[in-house]
Symmetry: D3
Subunit: 137 residues, 6 copies
């Protein structure tokens, strides 16, 4: 079993806002992340797949195909977007990075499964000081 990781990135705006709460409570819990006019980040996305290398190619998965899948399934949906306003799957949700990685898993998992290896981890950096990881369960 060998693990292959590929990095892509996207730049997006978002806000942390619980629509069931008052503005005051949102600011109390989320602080400046609750700014109504949004703020934004350069998100770095690392996707790890695992499997047995194919004897003909030496690859767990062709890294160029993994890159294309990440661009098609994730970057195309999120890059230069407002995560709260522009992404149907996120409408009305609390948009913590924890929620975003679980959705990225849902977008990617069916495509990885069809490439004879398994999706292992979605890792998403919000800043260089904060990142979140999800392993599918």
């Amino acid at each position: 079993m060998v693990y292959l990781t590929r990095k892509e990135h996207f730049n997006a705006a978002h806000q942390l806002h619980n629509y069931d709460w008052s503005d005051e409570k949102n600011i109390e819990v989320f602080g400046k992340c609750a700014n109504k006019n949004f703020h934004g980040h350069n998100f770095d996305l690392f996707v790890t797949v695992k499997g047995k290398p194919n004897p003909e190619t030496g690859f767990v998965m062709n890294a160029h195909i993994l890159s294309k899948l990440m661009k098609q399934e994730v970057v195309a949906r999120l890059d230069h977007k407002n995560l709260n306003l522009d992404v149907p799957e996120f409408t009305g949700l609390m948009l913590s990075t924890e929620i975003v990685v679980q959705q990225i898993w849902k977008w990617l998992q069916p495509h990885i499964a069809s490439n004879a290896c398994q999706l292992h981890c979605i890792k998403l950096y919000e800043t260089e000081n904060i990142y979140v990881e999800y392993f599918g369960e």
Copy 2:
């Protein structure tokens, strides 16, 4: 003459939009950066000052004072803000990074001048692949 550089950062949303142009022209020139709902970045700010080290402290300028000035004059105004909507100095302007560095110079320059050294350069990273520098003229 010795040069001292200090890094701070802020996370913000913005869009590139010329209010005198049609939406079509904005998209033609600025591409996905013209998204009406904004996108965002983790901005890294490097400020360089220059001077002769003070014989008592060995400092061109106390780096903690420089850090405080950057937080007070720049980070407090821009962090977790929407650059187009939340910053009075930017209202109605084309918000390229080139414009932002010139405004940061204006905010910081009077404070640096009063510390017996000179402001030398404002360097702002929009992403790890794009940065802009301004030397005051």
Copy 3:
């Protein structure tokens, strides 16, 4: 189960010295790390917690609270300190990074447990080329 990691840093002096050994043996085993006058590092600390995201906040744990805990329990004790001389818990100990991460676990674990998620990993970079990880057992 989602994993959240937060980075903080501290700058400290230390030396590697076994007080039961002769100076010669200390130098033989630890080389220049045994310098009697100390050397130092910029330590980067990554703390990972894991749990189920809270449905109201979307958070495994509020990253600002995690940051505050790391500053209060670790950075306040170690930043700009001499690890051998200034930290009561380290008096008389061999101060390898392996020992430091286990003590950081002890400082942080009670506080994380009370936040409805679990401490998962303490990762400490001594330089960009050496780091140590501890998972609590």
Copy 4:
């Protein structure tokens, strides 16, 4: 159980080429990585060992000894080499990074085992955007 990781690096040329395939098929599958005249990378190698810290040294393993082993067993064989032409163990093989990490495990594992701790992971960055990990099985 504590985990210690050490980084070393090497610069090497290679190509992706299955010798049982036509040139056309190699280009179809491997793209520009199949260039007959080779291309190259700055490879960053991270080796992780695990064990119980020795009470006399505080070390899972002396990081200087780990560094020397990595230089002697890996860097000396691969640095400033052509992986396809200069390394006997790689002759005639598909030289994906997946294959390289498994060979590095074979070179290092006997030496780590004799140091009272276990080899845990070989992690190899081909570029800053692609890396591969191997845990020995």
Copy 5:
């Protein structure tokens, strides 16, 4: 005057070899960099242009156009290539990084000049520890 810098990268094989010298002298001067079978690097290229921001766009130069020029004029010629064998402009030359940056200037300069701003600097990282800069004279 504002300065804009854009980063792109390419991966390539090369060797340092003076064709007028014996193999022994090449190895004496260039060491392992003279390996006949080549070695390689991940090259990071930073191109800086300078000018007065255009009042309509706020840009010294559109960073996407700069990126496209760098890809078209430099990356397309050098990425996944053998610098000694695959690049007509380098045939028979000593291929130090110093020579490469001067050629990159020649490829880019005519295109930048036609965009109402000036080429200022070509900066090329061979590894994270060595880089070369050229300012056109």
Copy 6:
């Protein structure tokens, strides 16, 4: 004229202390950097030389020779040392990074001058957020 930069690093302890001042005044001006028991850093040193590439080697200066000079003249003096106690040139001085870069210039300049190129800049990172540059006057 081409510019070549080489990076080396050293780890050292130091304190900021003006011996003509009371302890109270030292703490007032230098804060926690005045800790009597020292603190420390991983210092990253970048040395830039400039000159006309030699037609036989293509080099402004052989980067391996520059690396050796930096190790012999700077790293051997400062690595794993206490800058206040172990370095004769620093005895009794205010040990700001501004002072250190000027001394590094003095150590390196005679050796660079004898290699047919000129020393251009000493750049020293104290942390990833603070660095100082000196150009010789």
